[in-house]
């Protein structure tokens, strides 16, 4: 969407509701997960992953060589009610960018990974 400037100065209908901001705790959990993945700290990754998701999360974790990546970027975010799908990209000086998608959801205030998918060689989670 083009930047329309200061909305309050624009004639016409103004928004009737506010945009839902992502919870800071969810973003902190994502950062914690991504840092653990870059370090190759599988124990921390497992601690954030319920048993039924462990296999797919660890498949992503094992595909990331430890300490090869030093930066991460959250390049996409979409929510389904209160769960967040995040697309992340890891980059390092001598490494091909690593892209994957995961979903975070909270139970009793604790954000955990609910699904994970390596996007290497695919355009989206839809690709077969």
């Amino acid at each position: 969407m083009p930047d329309l400037g200061e909305r309050g100065h624009v004639m016409g209908p103004q928004p009737i509701a506010a945009i839902v901001q992502p919870p800071a705790e969810m973003l902190a959990a994502a950062e914690q997960l991504l840092n653990a993945l870059m370090r190759g700290d599988h124990a921390s990754v497992e601690a954030m992953t319920p048993a039924h998701v462990r296999d797919e999360m660890m498949a992503v974790a094992k595909a990331i060589p430890p300490n090869k990546y030093d930066k991460f970027e959250l390049i996409g975010r979409a929510r389904v009610a209160k769960h967040y799908f995040l697309k992340a990209q890891l980059t390092g000086r001598n490494a091909e960018p690593f892209k994957f998608q995961f979903r975070l959801g909270a139970t009793d205030g604790k954000w955990t990974v609910r699904e994970a998918l390596n996007l290497t060689g695919r355009r989206s989670a839809w690709s077969r």
Partner: protein, 266 residues
Amino acid sequence: MQRMIPVDKLARPEDHILLPANRTRNARSEQGLSPGNAMPYEDDFLKSRMHGICGGEFQAMEAAGRTLYDFPDAPWEFQLDMARQVWDESRHAEIYMKLLEYVGSYYGEFPEGEVLWSCTQAEDPAARVAGINRGLEGLACDVFEQLIRIAQKMGDTIIERSVDYVLADEITHVRMGSQWMRKLTEGDPERFKRAQEFQDRIDELFNFGPGRKHIEDVDHVKQRINDKEIEIDSGITIAREARLLAGFTEEEIDRLVKGFGKSSAY
């Protein structure tokens, strides 16, 4: 020439999240929500419904464009109608992007699904228009008519008039679909039957979620939207009047209600 294009070949920005329907359903089920899309009694209903429609408008625009491109030997008038539909759907996408902003959302807040694009997966232009123009756009009539009634109860003329403007086009698209489905299959009952079967499959595709009913039969739930508490439909309804205007027969509408015993879309 490749006529069956996977949904994730559609041009989308890198920050966009495209999901198969089962992943969205899993995410909703895990949160104790009905597995289909946001229902009228959920807080996110308006945002989520408009987001789904906006994605549908994008994919409908792309679908009409592909139909134009895929069938260069189709009658010139057919191609003109498809070109006109691309133009209509692009305006609808713009309208819904503005409406999303209006209700405090933006395109990309929720994932985009692939279900609507599957309506394009037919090799025959007669089946394409049966599926997209009659199946999908017929469904849009139902969803838009319900949104208009909700906006009327909210006293929100912005949503009411914007959606009514789009609904008028959708009625035209359904009529266009009915006309071309008949014309392209003239003298070939087998081809007509295959096109009808494709449309039936699409009608079935949306056969998930809670019950679809006539407007007068549907239950209501209280919903707080901003500073107002209003009564809205608890499920998806059939827009009988709009469908009749679009050229559906009473029999076809009854068949949809019976066949769509458990239906929800967007």
